[in-house]
């Protein structure tokens, strides 16, 4: 499959306009120049100290929690059932995203994860895949 446009470009660190599903990508975070705090999605100023921020990228983390969505939620363009995971990044932030596995039997808390592109209705957004 070819490259698809990003569902929400500001979430993704690369400025290449899109990616093929399954390709590794990085999340666009921000780091406070004053207190070092990381935020995702990227912010204009630090929510903790109001200091200026610089860009930062998140690419690999560990699985901190997971569940499944078994019944279609309103507005979702993802077929149920699907899985969700929390990726804890070493930078100090944890992010909720789709967990791209066939079954939760395949994963455990603490597993290494990488950020990859995943298709949503003709676009791609970020998801997490066991590394």
């Amino acid at each position: 499959m070819g490259t698809l446009p990003y569902l929400e470009p500001r979430l993704i660190a690369s400025d290449d306009g899109g990616a093929p599903p399954g390709e590794r990508i990085e999340l666009a975070a921000s780091r406070c120049d004053a207190c070092d705090r990381i935020d995702f999605p990227r912010r204009d100023t630090c929510p903790a100290c109001s200091g200026p921020v610089s860009g930062a990228q998140l690419s690999t983390g560990t699985l901190a929690g997971f569940t499944s969505v078994l019944h279609p939620p309103p507005g979702a363009r993802v077929e149920t059932p699907y899985h969700l995971g929390v990726a804890a990044f070493p930078e100090g932030i944890s992010v909720l995203g789709q967990l791209l596995v066939d079954s939760l039997e395949q994963v455990s808390i603490g597993d290494a994860l990488e950020v990859v592109a995943t298709e949503v209705d003709g676009t791609v957004t970020y998801g997490f895949r066991p590394a």
């Binding site: 569902l7 929690g65 569940t67 993802v78 969700l84 944890s94 909720l96």
Partner: protein, 378 residues
């Protein structure tokens, strides 16, 4: 708040009804006014908590009560809407700006998943805007980090449903077993349908007065409103609809509890009963810790000891909680206050907590809002 008392309470049962939100709200308000022995024309200010109705909803409810011509202010803060209205009302009375405030919480929520919880469009489209998934992740964390088990999660539902049998204002008044809870439809593992509350319809109302005004009127059984804390998101809190959180996470309900106990001058060991935000079974166990009823890690032990069951040391959700009453978002907090006041007045019938003198209510809502209310007999 030395001077604020609850002079009357009213409720429209929680459930599903062939009535509009206006009628539901007006029903609860009339009951509260009658309970306080005052007329709508004697009220200084009316605060109406609601999440989803329409423009000028409070004014539309009040139209059914009369035309008092006083300020009607609509208040919305997701599941903390009622608590926000109560806090504003208490501040008006405490400051002397109002002598008598009517607070109404009312909701007629659509069935199913709660939509419009503040998620951005990309979250919704990519399947991340799912409230029960957030509750499920918190539940999983509780199971991973404490000795709580899936059976404990089921037993919270069993307890609250048993309590609700004696509450005519609850939606579900049937006992259920642990096996039934575990075998009910999986929603977001580990949570099953019977471990989650259902959004529904209902209303509750509270009349606030200064103590002097209540004395002047000879109000029977006034209950003191000792504190209504209210907190919003700090840098490290995490709840619906945020997609991320600092790994060093803080707890917003714990902060709300701390503020409320401090203002009330009352500690958690002096509390006789609690109505807490049991959006799901795990939320109740987590609230035990956040409200200071137990130490971190002892949540399940407190449940298993029977302390939080009617007849125990610190009964929690003797009304049946949201798990049994259902959750009319804008009305749930006012419903808790209705229950606490009924209990403190000794009028709760077969679900009465013997000798109840201090009650605590707790709500937490989307957008990061939490509130803890403390009421006492004197």
């Amino acid at each position: 708040m030395e001077q604020v008392v609850i002079a009357g309470v009213g409720i429209h049962p929680f459930g599903r009804f062939d009535l509009g939100y206006r009628e539901l709200g007006a029903h609860a308000a009339r009951e509260a006014l009658t309970d306080a022995s005052i007329g709508i024309d004697e009220v200084d200010t009316i605060l109406v908590a609601n999440v989803g109705a329409e423009m000028a909803k409070g004014q539309n409810v009040v139209e059914l009560l009369g035309r008092p011509g006083v300020p009607v202010i609509n208040v919305e803060a997701a599941c903390a809407s009622s608590a926000s209205a109560l806090r504003l009302g208490a501040a008006l009375v405490d400051s002397g700006r109002a002598r008598c405030v009517l607070c109404i919480g009312v909701e007629k929520a659509p069935r199913g998943f709660v939509a419009a919880s503040g998620y951005e469009e990309w979250q919704i489209r990519s399947g991340l805007g799912v409230n029960p998934a957030y509750f499920a992740l918190a539940a999983q964390e509780l199971l991973e980090t404490t000795d709580a088990t899936i059976d404990d999660l089921a037993d919270v539902s069993v307890k609250n449903h048993r309590h609700a049998v004696e509450n005519p204002n609850a939606m579900y008044r049937k006992e259920c077993t642990r096996d039934e809870v575990l075998a009910s439809r999986a929603v977001c593992p580990p949570l099953t349908l019977l471990m989650l509350c259902a959004p529904n319809e209902g209303a509750a109302a509270v009349v606030l007065m200064s103590r002097q005004e209540a004395e002047r009127r000879g109000v029977a059984d006034p209950v003191r409103l000792r504190a209504v804390s209210l907190v919003s998101r700090s840098p490290d809190d995490w709840f619906v609809p945020a997609v991320s959180f600092s790994t060093a996470r803080s707890e917003l309900s714990a902060r709300a509890a701390e503020d409320a106990y401090e203002e009330a001058g009352i500690g958690p060991h002096e509390v006789d009963l609690v109505e807490c935000q049991d959006t799901d079974s795990a939320s109740e166990l987590i609230a035990y810790r956040e409200l200071g009823l137990c130490e971190p890690g002892e949540e399940a032990a407190l449940l298993r000891s029977g302390a939080t069951t009617l007849g125990g040391r610190i009964p929690v959700n003797v009304s049946g909680g949201l798990l049994s009453k259902g959750e009319p978002l804008g009305a749930s907090g006012m419903g808790q206050v209705h229950e606490l006041v009924t209990q403190l007045r000794g009028r709760a019938g077969r679900r009465q907590v013997e000798g109840a003198r201090v009650g605590v209510g707790h709500v937490m809502g989307a957008g990061h809002n939490a509130s803890v209310t403390v009421v006492s007999t004197s």
